[in-house]
């Protein structure tokens, strides 16, 4: 089959999708300029005093949650893309190009959030790579993210060439997959290595991060693929439709299940265990948001993807993807903030448990990241042809 043939199998994709992506492009561009402008002006005036983080123990706030969420989504999308390109599961190649581009979009949002969160962001660009601080997970994370960025860009460049093929791209895709898995593993280690913070500590954390990353990748792939086609299952290209009918719900089910196991295991041991810091689990378990996250954000999508009546239903897939996306964000928030709620050695200067509500600037930064990611994605939808599939599938 040629690319032309393929394109012709999805005649409805282009016109409707184009109008929508143009609209998203415009809205995202305006939204991004406004939100990033507000954030920058707040930072120019007050510095990070505009954030609600503090020195009592809440050092990493919503911008770091945003950063990690976007970064892990990006790596998950890259992994999703490379299922088809590197592992030879050819059905997945139908969404590879879009996933790669989405990975780039997510990365852009994450990096934006990180850079506006760091105290000296530009210094970080050289100070980290040249530090040779092999003991720091963040050093490896930056190296790995660097490699990931380069490989992602190279891979995307290859997919922009007419007649790109799995065969030609495979070595690059394998490297990208390794880099992506490396990033998510080290992102987990950043927390999992913190022995002084029992809430985070544990060798399973990098594994959980992998799973959450891939789960996010699948969810975003589903959602944005549908978005590109006006949320209309019938408009999906044939290859995508085939994938979404069978393989994808299966993969989705598998990864949600793994995720659910980790959530259950960590929650139960967190609630039961006694080390200082783990009492945050009682606090989390008492919050409605957490129950929304696990029952509506994990259990319901799992059911939707298992139940024969819904697993192949487009609307149900969109719903499941959306629920998973939101619940992963809530989980990321609970994880990163929760690990800091017990202040280390502050006595009665700080409450026994900190309370954190993100500042307006921090929320705006999240919005800016969302707008930027959508801007990049919509640009891809509008100008790049993300429904392209490799010539050899």
């Amino acid at each position: 089959m040629t690319a032309d043939v393929h394109r012709s199998t999805a005649p409805g994709a282009a016109p409707g999708g184009q109008a929508l992506s143009t609209l998203i492009l415009a809205v995202s561009a305006i939204g991004f300029v406004v939100t990033v402008g507000l954030v920058l002006s707040a930072l120019a005036g007050d510095g990070h005093r505009a954030f609600n983080t503090n020195n009592d123990g809440l050092f990493w706030g919503l911008p770091i949650v945003t950063y990690d969420f976007f970064l892990l989504t990006s790596t998950g999308l890259a992994v999703t893309a490379t299922i088809g390109l590197a592992l030879g599961v050819k059905e997945f190649a139908a969404v590879s190009k879009r996933c790669l581009w989405l990975a780039l979009a997510g990365l852009a949002g994450g990096v934006l959030s990180l850079f506006l969160e760091l105290g000296q962001p530009l210094r970080a660009l050289w100070a980290i790579p040249f530090s040779f601080q092999f003991a720091s997970p963040l050093y490896w994370k930056v190296l790995c993210v660097g490699a990931y960025v380069v490989l992602l860009l190279l891979t995307i460049l290859r997919t922009l060439q007419p007649g790109w093929s799995v065969r030609a791209i495979r070595p690059l895709a394998i490297a990208l997959m390794i880099a992506a898995l490396g990033v998510s593993m080290i992102a987990g280690s950043v927390f999992g290595m913190m022995v002084m913070r029992p809430f985070w500590f544990g060798g399973e954390i990098p594994v959980a991060f992998h799973i959450e990353s891939v789960l996010g990748g699948l969810a975003f792939a589903v959602f944005f693929t549908y978005l590109a086609h006006g949320f209309d299952q019938d408009r999906l290209p044939a290859g995508v439709r085939a994938l979404f009918r069978d393989r994808l719900p299966f993969a989705f089910t598998l990864v949600i299940s793994l995720h659910a196991m980790f959530v259950a295991a960590r929650t139960v041991s967190g609630l039961w265990s006694n080390a200082d810091g783990l009492q945050v689990w009682q606090h989390i378990a008492a919050s409605p948001l957490f129950h929304l996250e696990i029952w509506v954000g994990v259990a319901l999508p799992l059911y939707l993807m298992i139940a024969p009546g819904t697993r192949s239903n487009g609307r149900m897939q969109i719903l499941a993807a959306l629920l998973v996306m939101v619940s992963l964000f809530v989980a990321r928030y609970d994880f990163i903030i929760g690990g800091q709620l017990i202040p280390p050695f502050k006595g009665s200067w700080a409450p026994s448990m900190l309370s954190y509500v993100p500042a307006a600037t921090e929320w705006l930064l999240l919005l800016a990241a969302i707008f930027l990611a959508n801007l990049v994605n919509a640009f891809g939808e509008r100008f790049v042809g993300l429904d392209d599939v490799p010539a050899d599938t």
Partner: protein, 827 residues
């Protein structure tokens, strides 16, 4: 955010890459001194080049710690304790280092100013305009000359708080005599701690605070004096604490009595949380046990002639059977009061456990040397004098007066005479004008007021407003701000609206807001000012503030302001001040006394005094050893003293003994009985009288000072604000400590705003629910709640004074700050 700061990044990169080299270089620096190991103590460590160390004295509490002020290029940047100063010993309390902030407080007044808005009040901006010093001083002198010409010189008053020495507060006496006003030099002592001064005057004849030999004591029993947060000299107390608790053998045992858990209670071996105002009951019970169990010090107190102890609870004793040594009236006291003051009785009054009272009494009675000390917690109540006398009598019972490890009094410094004598410059008005027969406006020393008090500053506003005895015309303030700090403070606002107000503080304050003229003083790091020590360890000491920098603003030392006003008064008074010349001349004359009596540190004149910052001469000259008194002869306490010597030099009571039966009170028995309603049979003895609480609320309100409470400026020091009330853990302002049982009843949570109400007023506070306080007591530190005091102080925290009624101990005149009973509710 240096997201756009690319210009420096490259430079910083270059610097960073040489970091390792820099570390190596700093290591090399260490060898430059080339000193032997261990470092030679004789070789003082070099300070940074260009840095000058000036000797001065801290101003942030009365303790007068010697300080080293580090100044580089005209900028004060560090303050440490003066190593060669007997109080500081190189150390400081938490306030000490903050002095440089006070110097550079951005809210300071920059020069003299006058008011242009004739209306006065909290909400009336005074609209100050700068004026010259000449105009300012001429204005004051003009008013004073006019008053004097009208024969109303008594209507000029000068109120002062922290007097330091001969060159400031010391000038007030001659000013009063020459000008002719009984109201020049009304001190703040009745709002401070006169309760203890008068209690001591009544018992051992010394109207003074005590000096203490803590380092040799083996037992300390502390009543309402927070040794580890507020009691003077705080810095030295902390040094003492480290020694007696961590190094001394045997470790000194400490029992502390207070109404909430503070750092002293937490650090003590035993903390007794008494019901406010009942400290005297506890002391009486301890005395009761000491007598019934025969634990008193026989060499000092005396004994039954047959050495058989007849003190049995509830039974009287024949006075003839007891031979008294250095005390007077012990058996009479027992018969009239003490025989019924059993631990069981005291347990009911104080709410303490009987077993704890008994254990404390036994420890105190059997551990020598022992000191019982007390301050405001015990005596700022209607029964404060009685509480104080009861506690101080414990010292007599265990023989601690003038003993090693006991307590004594303070010797004065060997100052030279003033340059000129005021007596030589008195005109007829000064010598015999009508002012001589005028009562003081506060009715101190007056039968209608407070006959036995030392000062009654808290009565000034009330008496002025009531036109009783008369109204003041012009009032000048030096280091006191009763508009904020006096009981029923709002009354002072009304008074200040009616008089011409002259404020001398370097800083904005409530008084300055109501002022007509502001003549700002230097801050302490800019002053040349003498300060003899407060009672410390008895040996004489006088310290000197030496300016570390030239005055930052157009300010004038208060001593010089006063001298300059004096120069402008017509007649011989003006001549006196011209002869006095200036405050430095006064200080130079004081220092001449050291020529004949050089200090232990070699200080022998003005220059050496400036260099060392302190003159002192150890030791204290007298000591009581097992009932015998001795005087220092230059090598030891070798010269025995007669009973007459002791009476003249140490216990100037009518009997020359420690008077449990107070001759001082007995001499005024009719007056005391009249104003207090006390029985004439009992009023001269320490005895139990329930405190009269003011207000009908269900909760006591106690307003302690915390460690960061400086002499009035901590409220505007951001670094002090964040540390002000550490045990409650609030970084922003003082909070009201409320017991959980009260909080539950009233539905109050930590962080809630509450209204505290008393019959005189109400105030709003933020609650902190804590087990640290008694269930019947609200604890709210005195410090915050200024409505004018600088940008950080204004409207921060809670002003406590509006809910404190103006009630005083009728005998001592001590303001009853801790007597309020209030109600609280959620705001």
């Amino acid at each position: 955010m240096s997201i756009v700061d690319t210009s420096t990044s490259r430079r910083r990169f270059l610097q960073a890459s040489s970091a390792t080299g820099a570390i190596a270089a700093s290591g090399a620096l260490g060898t430059v001194g080339n000193l032997l190991t261990p470092a030679d103590p004789a070789q003082a460590a070099p300070i940074e080049s260009g840095t000058v160390v000036t000797k001065s004295i801290c101003h942030q509490c009365p303790a007068r710690c010697g300080i080293d002020v580090y100044t580089t290029n005209g900028r004060v940047h560090a303050i440490y304790g003066n190593t060669d100063h007997p109080i500081a010993n190189g150390k400081l309390c938490p306030k000490g280092p903050l002095g440089s902030y006070i110097l550079y407080d951005p809210d300071r007044f920059t020069g003299p100013m006058k008011r242009t808005n004739p209306k006065k009040g909290r909400n009336e901006d005074p609209k100050f305009v700068p004026i010259s010093w000449d105009e300012a001083l001429d204005t004051v002198a003009g008013r004073l000359n006019t008053l004097r010409e009208k024969g109303e010189s008594h209507r000029f008053s000068l109120l002062f708080g922290r007097g330091w020495g001969a060159s400031c507060a010391g000038l007030l006496g001659p000013f009063a005599d020459l000008y002719g006003s009984p109201n020049v030099g009304i001190g703040h002592s009745s709002m401070c701690s006169d309760g203890s001064v008068v209690a001591k005057q009544c018992t051992d004849g010394n109207a003074s605070y005590s000096s203490y030999d803590y380092r040799n004591a083996n037992y300390l029993l502390m009543f309402g004096a927070n040794f580890l947060e507020a009691f003077r000299p705080y810095n030295n107390n902390l040094q003492v604490w480290g020694y007696i608790r961590g190094e001394k053998s045997p470790r000194t045992r400490v029992t502390a009595v207070d109404v909430h858990v503070n750092q002293l209670i937490a650090s003590a071996d035993r903390g007794l949380l008494v019901k406010p105002g009942t400290d005297g009951a506890l002391a009486l019970a301890i005395a009761h046990v000491i007598l019934t169990e025969g634990l008193w010090e026989r060499s000092f107190v005396g004994d039954f002639t047959d050495r058989k102890n007849r003190f049995k609870a509830g039974q009287t004793v024949d006075p003839a059977t007891f031979q008294e040594r250095w005390v007077k009236g012990l058996v009479e006291w027992w018969n009239v009061e003490l025989k019924d003051r059993t631990p069981k009785w005291a347990a009911e009054v104080t709410t303490l456990r009987e077993a704890d009272i008994l254990a404390t009494a036994r420890e105190f009675g059997t551990t020598r040397p022992a000191i019982a000390l007390f301050e405001r917690g015990a005596h700022t109540h209607s029964n404060g004098l009685l509480n104080g006398m009861a506690i101080h009598t414990l010292n007599a019972l265990v023989g601690s007066l003038f003993a090693e490890g006991g307590l004594a009094y303070q010797m004065g410094p060997s100052y030279g005479p003033m340059p000129v004598k005021a007596a030589d410059y008195m005109d007829d008005w000064a010598k015999g004008g009508a002012w001589k027969t005028m009562p003081r406006v506060d009715l101190k020393g007056h039968p209608d007021g407070y006959l036995l008090a030392k000062n009654m500053i808290q009565e000034v506003a009330k008496n002025h407003l009531a036109n009783k005895p008369y109204k003041l015309d012009t009032v000048m303030f030096y280091l006191t701000n009763p508009v904020f700090s006096a009981p029923n403070a709002p009354q002072w606002e009304e008074m200040l609206k009616e008089v011409f107000v002259i404020e001398t503080s370097p800083f904005p304050s409530e008084t300055a807001w109501m002022a007509d003229l502001v003549l700002p003083d230097h801050t302490y790091l800019e002053r040349l000012q003498d300060a003899p020590t407060y009672p410390f360890q008895g040996f004489p000491m006088a310290q000197l503030r030496v300016p570390a920098v030239k005055p930052v603003h157009n300010t004038k030392y208060f001593g010089d302001t006063l001298i300059e006003i004096g120069k402008r008064i017509k007649g011989p008074m003006g001549e006196y001040y011209k002869a006095l010349n200036n405050s430095e001349n006064v200080i130079r004359h004081l220092a001449k006394g050291f020529e004949k009596d050089p200090g232990d540190n070699g200080v022998k004149d003005f220059e050496s005094w400036k260099e060392k910052g302190v003159w002192y001469k150890k030791p204290y000259h007298w000591r009581q050893v097992r009932g015998e008194f001795f005087e220092w002869d230059g090598t030891g306490y070798n010269t025995p003293m007669s009973a007459e010597d002791v009476k003249a030099k140490l216990m100037p009571t009518p009997s020359g003994k420690f008077e449990i039966r107070s001759g001082y009170l007995e001499a005024k028995a009719d007056w005391v009985a009249g104003v207090s309603g006390r029985s004439k049979d009992k009023l001269m003895f320490p005895h139990w009288e329930p405190p009269k609480y003011s207000g009908e609320g269900d909760l006591h309100l106690v307003t302690p000072k915390t460690a960061l409470h400086a002499e009035g400026r901590s409220a505007n020091l951001p670094h002090a604000i964040v540390l002000m009330q550490p045990t409650a853990g609030n970084r922003k302002h003082t909070v009201a400590e409320i017991h959980p049982s009260v909080a539950a009843k009233k539905g109050i949570k930590s962080g809630d705003r509450i209204v505290i109400k008393s019959p005189v007023g109400s105030t709003v506070a933020v609650a902190k629910v804590t087990e640290l306080t008694r269930p019947d007591t609200v604890v709210l530190p005195f410090e915050h709640g200024h409505w004018e005091h600088g940008r950080w102080a204004k409207d921060r925290g809670t002003h406590v004074a509006p809910v404190i009624a103006n009630q005083s101990d009728r005998v001592t005149g001590m303001a009853n700050f801790y007597t309020a009973k209030v109600t609280i509710e959620k705001a």
